[in-house]
């Protein structure tokens, strides 16, 4: 007789998730975006990935070489001797490389997504924008999940007066015109990528907090929790080790939607000029340039907007898929 191994809770969730074709393709899109974000400098840049020069091999994308300091690799490429070669990334432009000779060029073989008003390659800027958007999405949601779990956990675990006070705090946060608050904070601090992550994270935790509070209020009455308390587990241990794992599934769903939301907020901020400081590329920043040339520069509208839209849709579909596979009771409501 063969023993069948139990798949466990997350195993069964995964099995169900795999059957959801739309959500599964969203996951693949997200993995692709992550790949672009991680390997951005191999995909676009003005430095060769591999260079054989005067008999030596160099990897200018990965390492810095003092002998090439300040040297233009494109010029170098033309002067390579016999036996030497250079393999460039597929997009041969860096996202911050200005070229005043080719300003606002429409898409062409040279610049598949066109150029912006400083002659920068839009495709290169979009590739580098992926890392910024995704890292802001993931880290902001990480911050909000930590805050939400802590505050929601405290409110749900202790109940009573503590719950009342923390719930008032939720209420304040929920009625805040959050986008305006974020704009205000960023206007008064310097809008670095870290500040954007912190500000978005610190203002978007109410969803997670309410979920955790609700779950904890329910779990608190379970016998296994009472047993854990009776065995002398301290509050923190009971909350983190015994209760949290049982409340994590809805948080995962909410966080996936949260990533979509954070990416949307970041691109909205960049669109208004409060995002990632120039010359760093961001999708919202490319799109905001289109405001000045909207009568002809369609490529500045189409590509960055499509990138934001695709990413946001992928995360929303993924969240939807998680929700359906985690709990059969969720039927697209909420």
């Amino acid at each position: 007789m063969t023993k069948t191994k139990s798949v466990g809770y997350w195993g069964s969730v995964w099995r169900k998730f795999k059957k959801d074709r739309l959500a599964f393709s969203a996951l693949i899109v997200i993995l692709l975006l992550l790949f672009i974000a991680v390997f951005e400098s191999f995909l676009a840049g003005n430095k060769p990935i591999v260079l054989k020069y005067e008999g030596h091999y160099y990897f200018p994308v990965v390492f810095r070489y003092p002998e090439f300091f300040g040297r233009d690799f494109k010029e170098l490429d033309k002067k390579l001797g016999p036996g030497d070669f250079a393999i460039f990334p597929p997009v041969r432009y860096s996202p911050t490389e200005n070229d005043l000779m080719s300003i606002l060029n429409p898409p062409s073989g040279e610049h598949p997504f066109g150029t912006d008003d400083r002659g920068r390659d839009v495709l290169a800027r979009m590739i580098y924008g992926a890392r910024i958007s995704l890292s802001i999405g993931f880290i902001a949601v990480g911050i909000s999940a930590v805050i939400g779990i802590m505050l929601g956990g405290i409110a749900g675990y202790y109940g009573g007066t503590t719950d009342f006070i923390v719930s008032r705090l939720f209420e304040v946060m929920m009625t805040f015109p959050v986008f305006f608050l974020i704009l205000t904070i960023l206007a008064f601090r310097d809008p670095s990528i870290y500040n954007i992550m912190i500000v978005i994270g610190a203002t978007s935790w109410t969803g997670v907090a309410r979920l955790i509070r609700g779950e904890f209020l329910k779990l608190r009455k379970f016998e296994y929790v009472e047993a854990a308390v009776a065995l002398g587990g301290n509050d923190f241990r009971v909350m983190m080790k015994h209760m949290l794992p049982n409340a994590l599934a809805p948080v995962l769903v909410d966080s996936t939607f949260g990533i979509a939301g954070a990416i949307l907020v970041e691109s909205g901020l960049s669109f208004l000029g409060f995002g990632v400081p120039p010359p760093d590329p961001s999708w919202g920043d490319v799109l905001s340039q289109s405001q000045r040339y909207v009568d002809f520069a369609w490529w500045l509208v189409l590509f960055p907007g499509a990138a934001i839209f695709l990413t946001v849709t992928a995360f929303n579909l993924l969240g939807e898929g998680f929700r359906n596979s985690i709990d059969p009771k969720f039927t697209g409501n909420e």
């Binding site: 008032r168 009625t175 704009l183 691109s267 208004l272 934001i308």
Partner: protein
Amino acid sequence: MRDYIIKRLILLIPTLLGITIITFFIIQLAPGNPVERKLQLDEGIKSEAITKEIVEETKRLYGLDKPIYVRYGIWLKQIVTLDFGRSYKDHRPVIDKIAERLPITITLNVISIIIIYLTAIPIGVYAAVRHGSAGERTSTFVLFILYSIPSFWMAMILIFFLGGGEYWNVFPVYGILSPGAENYPLPEKAADFLWHIVLPVFCLSYGSLAYLSRFQKGSLLEVLREDYVRTATAKGLPRSKVILKHALRNALIPIITILAGILPAMIGGSVIIETIFSIPGIGQLGFESVLARDYPMIMAIATISAFLTLIGILISDLVYVLVDPRISFEGRS
């Protein structure tokens, strides 16, 4: 009912206090003070050239030399009498500037909310009744796509295709009235206004519309599974009557409470949409004030929009109680 409303209005106070305290401390503790900025803007002097005395004098003038909690106390005392101070930018009373702009934003948002509800509910009902059909799946997919399109991208696309670039010039994309339209007779002025707000209102509403119709679909699907709906069908009522008279009434209740959730998002959306379409509303004013570090303006806008959101939540709670006899005013607080 009066007691309930009074109780709820009293409960608004701690929330509003919380919001004003957070906003006040964020902007007052931030580096970069408005005095230097104002002097730069007013007289074009370079930062080094501002002598210390001028800075100190101006700080005294605006009360910025006192400690922060004293300033908050003073601010709070003033707003009880609806005195939000004067704008740092042009010295006009903040309340006057807001009074000029608030009606525009409220009009746009109220029109949007009406459109959202009038379209989302039928779409949601259709999707629930025809659940699983090809038409339902198409509409659900389209709504999902709409929900994920960033409003500022939609605005740029609409401006590009319909706002008179290389393509059609169908809608105006600047302001809320044509130049000179102030002197038009009223019907033409109204038509001109409506013509101007087509694109902004669309951008403000489609996201929430998609969200709400999905919600309506879910809530009606749930109600359709209830026993009393089966009973209504079993006793031979026509399907339209079962759905519209028995099921929909109960399925509408959660839709009303959602209003509270979409209000803050709509105010946030107004900032971007009003800036793109140059609409002289409170969102654009807020954006300009943030750029100019106009403390009294920022405080006033944050306070007033939070207050309006809270009133919106209160109204949706009241409607909730009115439509659902199971909930009494006394039972909720």
